[in-house]
């Protein structure tokens, strides 16, 4: 019996969180967009059979997270969590239509705490399964992203249109696309600049003894400044500069807007890139470099043919960290007028409209997940064969 039980902590936490979420309010029926409304429990929201199915699935998850997990069961865990996720979305869509029947047009169905906690719980379990499946890239991606694909499908066919978040979305559709693109622009440009500056900086730190300390001192210090403060700090000097040189104003360099946001995000991207480049080059076996030089390679040839390929995986890993971090931080950029998905979040806070906050926050999380997956693939492709033994 002992042998069979080997709880996975993360999956267990997720399952318990999921079961707990069933006791909370799931949907809220509101007479209009801003009113308080009445909270409905699980079976009131989704109906008896649906509620039963969800309870059973969470119990299954719980059981799976308690037993000793081999590959097959880890896949089972991932699949169960995904079914839960998909079922929840489908049932919520159905329920919202049913609840609004006969209600006035201003009435709204919004998602309650129970739904969001279940969502978080399924992703906790999915995360656990993903980790247990380390090495099986296909299954990992399937487990991580099939829920998102179904979500995208449900959204595109209008299944969730009766949910208040989607009604907010339909009111802001154009704006949403615009801010999403702006968000991608913000983090994309900053990570690109951060990489282009960070890699040479990291290499320089490995080459010159006296460069090492100042480079790491500054990049680490900057990293500890809260993002909001850094954004704010940049406003004054940039406005001063743009007032002194009006030409700069014309090309968009001002105290507020996209320029200070990109500068701040770039600075944040520097540390992971610089640090990983430095470590990546430092961990190259000195004997390989000595052999290269001894055989008659020039310093540049040793760098290009030995150091660079051997450092590449770590450098790319740094860019991945920087990217995921920048997707999150770019949300704050809206505060200094740079736009991005943060615009919805802060507007939602200002109007006390939780649906609007969700409309900004959820896409940020999804974007971060996608960027992470994309960068992981790039890291894998950038890792030369022969490193780290057998690779799948």
């Amino acid at each position: 019996m002992r042998r069979l039980i080997n709880p996975d902590r993360v999956a267990l936490t997720g399952s318990i969180l999921g079961l707990a979420s069933l006791l909370l309010g799931w949907l809220t029926l509101k007479p209009n967009r801003l009113a308080a409304g009445t909270s409905l429990n699980l079976s009131e929201s989704l109906g008896q059979p649906g509620a039963m199915a969800i309870v059973v699935l969470w119990l299954l998850c719980l059981a799976l997270s308690l037993v000793k997990l081999k590959r097959g069961r880890s896949i089972g865990l991932g699949i169960t969590a995904n079914i839960l996720l998909i079922l929840t979305l489908v049932l919520v869509g159905l329920a919202s239509g049913r609840l609004l029947e006969g209600e006035p047009a201003a009435a709204r169905v919004s998602l309650g705490t129970g739904f969001w906690v279940t969502l978080a719980a399924t992703y906790t379990v999915i995360f656990a399964a993903r980790r247990l499946l380390d090495g099986w890239h296909t299954w990992q991606n399937l487990v991580s992203f099939s829920g998102l694909v179904v979500l995208a499908f449900l959204l595109s066919v209008g299944w969730l249109n009766n949910i208040s978040v989607m009604e907010e979305f339909s009111g802001y559709q154009q704006r949403f696309v615009q801010e999403l693109l702006q968000h991608m622009r913000l983090f994309g440009i900053s990570v690109a600049i951060g990489t282009v500056i960070g890699i040479p900086l990291g290499i320089w730190a490995t080459r010159k003894k006296h460069a090492e300390k100042p480079v790491f001192f500054t990049t680490s210090i900057v990293q500890t400044i809260p993002s909001l403060a850094l954004f704010g700090l940049l406003i004054a000097p940039l406005s001063a500069i743009s007032f002194a040189f009006p030409v700069l104003r014309d090309i968009g360099i001002r105290g507020v807007g996209i320029t200070p946001a990109i500068i701040a995000l770039t600075i944040y991207s520097l540390l992971p890139v610089v640090r990983n480049t430095y470590v990546g080059i430092r961990q190259v076996d000195p004997a390989a470099i000595d052999a290269g030089l001894g055989m008659g390679m020039s310093r540049w040839q040793v760098f290009r043919r030995v150091e660079a390929p051997l450092a590449a995986p770590l450098v790319l890993e740094g860019v991945r960290t920087a990217s995921v971090q920048a997707v999150g931080l770019a949300t704050v950029a809206a505060l200094i007028g740079a736009g991005g998905l943060g615009w919805f979040v802060f507007r939602g806070i200002g109007q006390a409209a939780p649906d609007l906050i969700v409309l900004g926050a959820i896409p940020v999380i999804i974007l971060a997940l996608l960027v992470d997956a994309l960068m992981r693939t790039i890291v894998r492709l950038g890792t030369p064969k022969g490193l780290g033994g057998e690779r799948r």
Binding site: D285, A287, A288, I289, D290, A291, G292, L293, G294, M295, G296, M297, S298, Q301, R305, V306, P309, L310, P384, K385, G386, L387, G389
Partner: protein, 365 residues
């Protein structure tokens, strides 16, 4: 071929190499040896200018190396080091192909050359060219390192403890192979080692260094028989007489051995013993298969019945062996004579313990 003239290397206060002069002839194996930190590696690395001397000059084929472009110079000198330094992201093929590629050889020629080299170092090309360094054993990696150093057929080879990082058994095999390879390629080799036995085995001349200075530069025989100073005497140790034996081939000590054919009648066999107590037994192909005690033989019906069978590999030595190996085999087996066989285990003769003792005594003083 290589000449160092009053070469000095200083690092601030410490003098790593001090006014060292050394001349290495073409096709010679020069082994640098001495206590840790005496400047062996520094000396070696000054030859291919990985380290620039503080003072003094180094000539290769009469040309001052300081006047040659350092990278060109290194392309013409093979370089192998203890930690091997194979490139982990390159296959064995690409590792060996580095210098030929830098020299812009044609692809076909590189492929052919890599195959030749792998065979030379005793690795099957088809099995190895696609492997990565992480898939090699320590000994295999060392051999690939040597193959890589030989890739562009450089006339000179610099080796810094090339057999340092492997177990004693593998090291011995690699040394034997080194001797074999050197016979074939005949390079001018400067080799650094910590291991005196290795130096004695491989060197044409040994350069003994002490805190940056050259204290004696002579053939192993002379170093062992006439150490020039107390330092050298202590360095080679009290057992130098024994060590000397490993420089002497058994060839000159082989005497005819008393042997009988296994199918010879007892009488004939006893007649051919001619005073010997022990006789070697061979089969119809002259291959050694055991020995027989004449006392036992007298009491038994045939040679076959009386003989002690023995595995030729264990009870004999090859004619290419050294007196040291002969001696150690004799002590192991408790023989006063040991048979010498050729590659196909045919009996050639025997070596007597008394003769080895005499050879040891000769070198004394």
């Amino acid at each position: 071929m290589i000449r160092l003239e009053q070469v000095t290397k200083r690092y601030g206060e410490t003098t790593a190499v001090n006014q060292l002069s050394l001349e290495i002839g073409k096709g010679e194996v020069c082994v640098l040896i001495g206590p840790s930190g005496c400047g062996k590696t520094t000396t070696l690395r000054m030859i291919n200018r990985l380290i620039e001397p503080t003072a003094g000059r180094i000539f290769i084929d009469g040309r001052d190396t300081a006047t040659v472009d350092a990278e060109k110079l290194r392309l013409s000198i093979g370089y192998a080091i203890q930690s091997v330094g194979l490139f982990p992201h390159m296959t064995v093929f690409n590792n060996i192909a580095v210098v030929p590629q830098l020299l812009l050889w044609e692809n076909n020629r590189i492929v052919r050359r890599v195959g030749e080299l792998l065979e030379l170092v005793g690795l099957e090309p088809a099995d190895y060219i696609r492997k990565y360094p992480s898939q090699l054993s320590g000994g295999e990696a060392q051999r690939i390192g040597v193959a890589r150093a030989l890739a562009a057929d450089p006339p000179i080879l610099l080796m810094d403890e090339p057999f340092g990082a492997v177990d004693p058994l593998t090291r011995e095999r690699l040394q034997a192979q080194f001797i074999h390879i050197q016979k074939e390629v005949n390079k001018t080799i400067v080799l650094v080692t910590h291991d005196l036995d290795e130096a004695i085995r491989l060197a044409d001349r040994i350069a003994i260094m002490e805190s940056g200075r050259l204290v004696q530069y002579d053939s192993p025989e002379i170093i062992l028989s006439r150490p020039g100073s107390k330092f050298v005497r202590d360095f080679v140790g009290a057992d130098r007489a024994l060590k000397r034996l490993s420089r002497i081939s058994v060839k000159d000590f082989i005497k005819p051995a008393a042997a009988v054919n296994v199918n010879q009648p007892k009488k004939e066999a006893l007649a051919s013993a001619a005073g010997h107590r022990w006789l070697w037994v061979v089969d119809d192909d002259e291959q050694l298969i055991g020995w027989v005690d004449t006392k036992t033989l007298m009491q038994s019906v045939s040679t076959k019945e009386a003989m002690d069978e023995g595995d030729a590999v264990k009870i004999s030595i090859l004619e290419s062996a050294t007196l040291r190996e002969a001696l150690s085999r004799m002590l192991e087996l408790g023989f006063k004579h040991i048979p010498v066989v050729d590659d196909s285990q045919r009996l050639i003769g025997e070596v007597a313990l008394g003769d080895i003792e005499a050879a040891t005594a000769e070198g004394k003083g």
